[in-house]
Structures are given as structure tokens and as C-alpha cells.
């Protein structure tokens, strides 16, 4: 009996572990290491209408327990993703969550309506939070009304459930979550990266050509946990949590906070086997902690626990 299967809107997951968007390309590289069918799902790299080159290099810089990236949504464009990448991925028994990005509302709508038709795309992840693109973007991720409106538009055209990816670079994340819930989102994914910068000691200049970049990795985990804790109590949408996940213990911590599944980003670069390793290590850890199923961990940080459960409702 599996301790790990999870049901989310559009997603029937054999386990709640999936690589995070942008940290796994379209899966080709990691398929050299293991069978991608072991994964709960795959969040593929952001797709835009047109192909994008992204930002100049250097695009990554290391920080203490983290890294900055400013890739700038490089991707081969909608047409090629649909013609090449998704069909290639269909050889694996794994649902795809397509990360949808753009500069204008029309862009998101265009990508969403097309990509959601692909047979193996089971959900969309609306990327309203990429810190590394200049135009548009920022407003979608930081102004509740704008986010709500965009969510609504995308929901109108999408053939699969829509998850909205929240930016941590806001004063009030709960407000953002509520807005996209009102906009009709089926779920949330959080968090995207925190805007940061590193300077070169010798030149004094930013290491990244884009100057600022998005901070990911273990450094941001406490911020993600806090935000999921807050948001999961305020909305009734399921949350796919991410930010610094490196181990099965981290996954449990995310579930405690209120997540229903967990994505792994930066850790793939450190250890290409990190996802299958976590999937293997989760059941014994649940066993040790006394849980029969991972879902029992969910929201434990704020829910009344057994034996007090009957005091509620």
C-alpha cells in the first residue's frame, strides 16, 4: 500500500514529489539518470508564445546556502514545446504541469489555451512571479486585482486545472492568494524566488549580467514555510510547496506547514538523483514519525491534532 499517493485538482499523483519549473528543463537531461516515471509529476520550464533567449550571462551566482538565477525565461516557445518536448515526455507515465509565462495578458492566454490541450499536460502553473523579466510580470505577481483578472482569463481558456505560482516578494502574500482564489485558481504553487543580488569583490559590479536575480535553495526555506503556513489557513486551495527542499524531512516540514505536494528545484543541480532519493526515503520517515500516509502530515503545524480532533467540527 502506498503511503504517498496524492489527489489534487487534475493531478492523480503516485507521490507528491516533482521537480520545480526551470530546474529540470523538459526532463531530457535527467532522464539520463533515472526513469522519469518514478516522479509524482514534472513541472516543465516556463513556456512563452515566442521562443526566448533570456538574459545575458552570467546568469547564476552562488550565495550562502542558496543561489541567484536570472535565466530570463529562456525557452523554445509554445510551438516547439508542443511539437517536440511534450510528445517526448509522453513516453513516461508522469503528469506534466506546464509553467505558463508571458509579458501581457494575451500571452498567458495564448499559451494556456494551447498547451492545456496537450494530452499529458494535466495542469497549468501560471508563472506570475518571475523576478527576472523586465516587462509586465511584476504587476501580475504583486497587485492582487491584476493577478485575479489574469487568473480568470486563463481559467476561461484552460482545459485543465490552473495553479497560480505566487511571488514571495510582496508585503502580504495572503492577499495575493485570496485574490487568485477569487479569480478561480484551482491551486497554488509557492514560492518563487526572492529577489537578491551579489557583487563581485574585484570589480564591485553585480555578478549577474541582469544585476538582480532570484534567490533559491535552503536559504529561503524558512520564508516559504512561513508563507505556506499563512496561506494554507486563509484559502481552501491546495498548495504545491517549494523553496530549498533537499530531503524527505524537508518534505514533511512542507506538509506540516500546509502543502499538499512539494517541488524540488535547486537541489537537482546539487544532486541529480535528489527526487528519486526523496521518494525512496519518505516512507521510512513517515513510518518512524508514526504516519500511515503522507496526507496525515498536512497542516499539522496549525491544525488541532489527534486526540483533540473531535473537539473541532
Amino acid at each position: 500500500m502506498s503511503r504517498l499517493n496524492v489527489e489534487l485538482p487534475g493531478l492523480n499523483l503516485k507521490n507528491p514529489i516533482m521537480p520545480a519549473s526551470g530546474c529540470f528543463g523538459f526532463g531530457r537531461e535527467y532522464s539520463q539518470f533515472y526513469d522519469l516515471s518514478v516522479l509524482g509529476a514534472i513541472m516543465i520550464k516556463a513556456t512563452t508564445v515566442e521562443p526566448r533567449f533570456g538574459n545575458p550571462t552570467p546568469r547564476v551566482a552562488e550565495t550562502d546556502a542558496g543561489m541567484l538565477n536570472a535565466i530570463g525565461l529562456q525557452n523554445p516557445g509554445l510551438e516547439k514545446v508542443i511539437a517536440k518536448e511534450l510528445p517526448w515526455l509522453s513516453q513516461f507515465d508522469v503528469p506534466i504541469i506546464a509553467n505558463v509565462a508571458g509579458s501581457l495578458e494575451e500571452d498567458y492566454v495564448a499559451v494556456a489555451s494551447e498547451i492545456s490541450k496537450a494530452a499529458n499536460v494535466h495542469a497549468l502553473e501560471l508563472n506570475i512571479s518571475c523576478p527576472n523579466v523586465k516587462t509586465g510580470g511584476i504587476a501580475f505577481g504583486t497587485i492582487p486585482e491584476v493577478a485575479k483578472q489574469l487568473t480568470r482569463k486563463v481559467k476561461e481558456v484552460s482545459e485543465v486545472p490552473v495553479y497560480v505560482k505566487l511571488s514571495p516578494n510582496v508585503t502580504n502574500i495572503v492577499e495575493m492568494a485570496k485574490a487568485v482564489e477569487e479569480g478561480g485558481a484551482d491551486g497554488l504553487t509557492m514560492i518563487n524566488t526572492i529577489v537578491g543580488m551579489r557583487l563581485d569583490l574585484k570589480t564591485g559590479r553585480p555578478i549577474l549580467a541582469n544585476r538582480t536575480g532570484g534567490l533559491s535553495g535552503p536559504a529561503i526555506k524558512p520564508v516559504a514555510i512561513r508563507m505556506i503556513y499563512e496561506v494554507s489557513q486563509a484559502v481552501s486551495l491546495p498548495i504545491i510547496g517549494m523553496g530549498g527542499v533537499q530531503s524527505a524531512e524537508d518534505v514533511v516540514e512542507y506538509f506540516y506547514a500546509g502543502a499538499s505536494a512539494v517541488a524540488v528545484g535547486t537541489a537537482n543541480f546539487v544532486d541529480p538523483f535528489v527526487c528519486p532519493t526523496i521518494i525512496e526515503e519518505l516512507p521510512p520517515i513517515l513510518e518512524k514519525l508514526g504516519f500511515e500516509h503522507i496526507s496525515e502530515c498536512k497542516g499539522r503545524s496549525w491544525k488541532q491534532h489527534e486526540p483533540f480532533a473531535h473537539y473541532r467540527a
Partner: protein, 257 residues
């Protein structure tokens, strides 16, 4: 096929000031298919530092399953690496990328190998393989200063070797490009600082030339788009090559450097 493997450290020696020669033994050595490929090393089992470090393979021996790297102690990652001792295990991902195409030089032809600083190491295996197949190999190696010169004797075994130091404290004073002007050759293979590669590309655009590039990396395997460069035939467009998986070695003129 690349692998991730814990390789045992066989030896580590400081061969010049802050320059370390590190040999490890592992099954992944059997997968190396060309000089100029690199490995991606995790220097700690914790998160400080977080990312792997790309280091070129400077030589290898499939029979003994050993590979050697030469690196400069720079920042925190290589500083940790420099503290490791024989017997320890090192988490290595590799071999990665595409190396130098030795088939581009025929026996009897002359290959010019130009290296600058820590761009010198990957040329060593190349030099050995070219010499072994009967090519004439000429080396031009540039270093900052006398104390950082390494492997001059090793390269000499395979062919003429010219050394230049920026400050003139050893051999010729100046840049490798000053030396190259005086030489005759059929093909250039180069690895080193970008200005050096650019200068070579400009001055010898008539020659067959292969350049090994460097770029800051995330994954090292082609998944994260950290290390891309533009294709030269589409400098304003969206065409690209990844240094980690399409390179690090490119034919001159293929990508914008």
C-alpha cells in the same frame, strides 16, 4: 554517458602557487571520450558551498580508472577541495560536455595548443593524444607570474613549448598571443580567459580553430539554461548553445564569445 559517483582521491599535490593537481579513481573514467571534457564536483556533503564546481579533466587513464584535474585555489569551493587528502571520497558528476576533436588534425600536421592560466590543464590530455597519433604539437602557455607556472616539462615531452608570463618573471614577458604570431601551424586548440580566445579568433580567422569556453554553471548537464551563449550566425536571435552540454569546446565562429 555521464555518471554521478563517489571517486576515491588517489593523490593531491600543490604543483605551483595555489595550483593543485588532484587524481581520483572511479568507474566514470571509462566514459570519457575526448580531451577537454570536464567534471562537476561537489566539495561538501552540506550546503556551504551549495553548487558543484566545474573542473576540466587534464588527463586520464582508462586502464587504471584514474583521472587527473589541475585547479587553482580561488574561492570557497576550491579552498575546501584543496584541503582534501588521499583516501577521501569526492562526489563527481561526469564526464560532461564535448571535448576537443582530435580527428581534425591528421598525423604530420601541426597543432597549436594555446592555454592561459587555468585554461592550460585540459590541453594536456589533448597534447598527449595528438602526439601519440603523430601530429606535431606546439604549446604556448601563458601564466601570470613565475610562481604559478606549471606542467612546462610535461608539455615539453610532447612537443615545442613556449611559456609567457604577464609580468615577465619567467620566460617571455607578455601574452600568449604575442608568441603565437611567430609560429606556423594547421589548427589551433585553445583554452583560457575570454580576451585571449577573442584575440585568437580575430587574428587567425583563416585557421581551423577550437576554443574551450567557460561560463558560470548551475546544473552542468544542460537543464537549467545558466550557461548559454548565442550562436554566431544569429547574434540577435534566440539560437543558442549550452557551454556545459554542447561545449565547452566550440569551433571558432560557431558561437559569440
Amino acid at each position: 554517458m555521464m555518471q554521478k559517483e563517489f571517486c576515491r582521491i588517489i593523490s593531491q599535490t600543490e604543483i605551483a602557487e595555489d595550483i593543485f593537481e588532484l587524481s581520483v579513481k572511479g568507474e566514470l573514467v571509462s566514459q570519457i571520450n575526448a580531451p577537454g571534457q570536464f567534471v562537476h564536483i561537489r566539495v561538501t556533503d552540506r550546503w556551504g558551498p551549495l553548487l558543484r564546481r566545474p573542473i576540466s579533466i587534464s588527463s586520464f587513464n582508462k586502464a587504471t580508472k584514474q583521472l587527473t584535474m589541475i585547479y587553482r585555489k580561488e574561492g570557497q569551493g576550491t579552498a575546501l577541495l584543496a584541503k582534501m587528502v588521499p583516501g577521501m571520497e569526492l562526489d563527481i558528476l561526469g564526464p560532461l560536455g564535448n571535448g576537443f576533436p582530435i580527428e581534425e588534425v591528421s598525423s604530420g600536421e601541426t597543432a597549436l595548443l594555446v592555454g592561459g592560466g587555468i585554461g592550460v590543464p585540459p590541453l594536456y590530455e589533448l597534447s598527449k593524444q595528438l602526439a601519440a597519433k603523430g601530429c606535431n604539437v606546439i604549446h604556448v602557455l601563458g601564466f601570470q607570474t613565475k610562481s604559478t607556472v606549471f606542467y612546462e616539462q610535461e608539455f615539453l615531452k610532447n612537443g615545442e613549448t613556449y611559456v609567457a608570463t604577464v609580468d615577465g618573471t619567467y620566460a617571455a614577458k607578455g601574452f600568449v598571443t604575442d608568441v603565437v604570431d611567430r609560429l606556423r601551424f594547421d589548427c589551433i586548440f585553445a583554452c583560457g580567459p575570454t580576451p585571449m580566445l577573442k584575440a585568437l579568433e580575430q587574428h587567425y580567422s583563416d585557421k581551423k580553430m577550437f576554443l574551450s569556453l567557460e561560463e558560470r554553471m548551475g546544473c552542468g548537464i544542460g537543464a537549467c539554461f545558466a550557461c548559454v551563449c548565442k550562436k554566431a550566425d544569429d547574434p540577435l536571435g534566440v539560437s543558442y548553445k549550452k557551454v556545459c552540454s554542447d561545449g565547452p569546446v566550440f569551433r571558432a565562429g560557431e558561437v559569440v564569445i
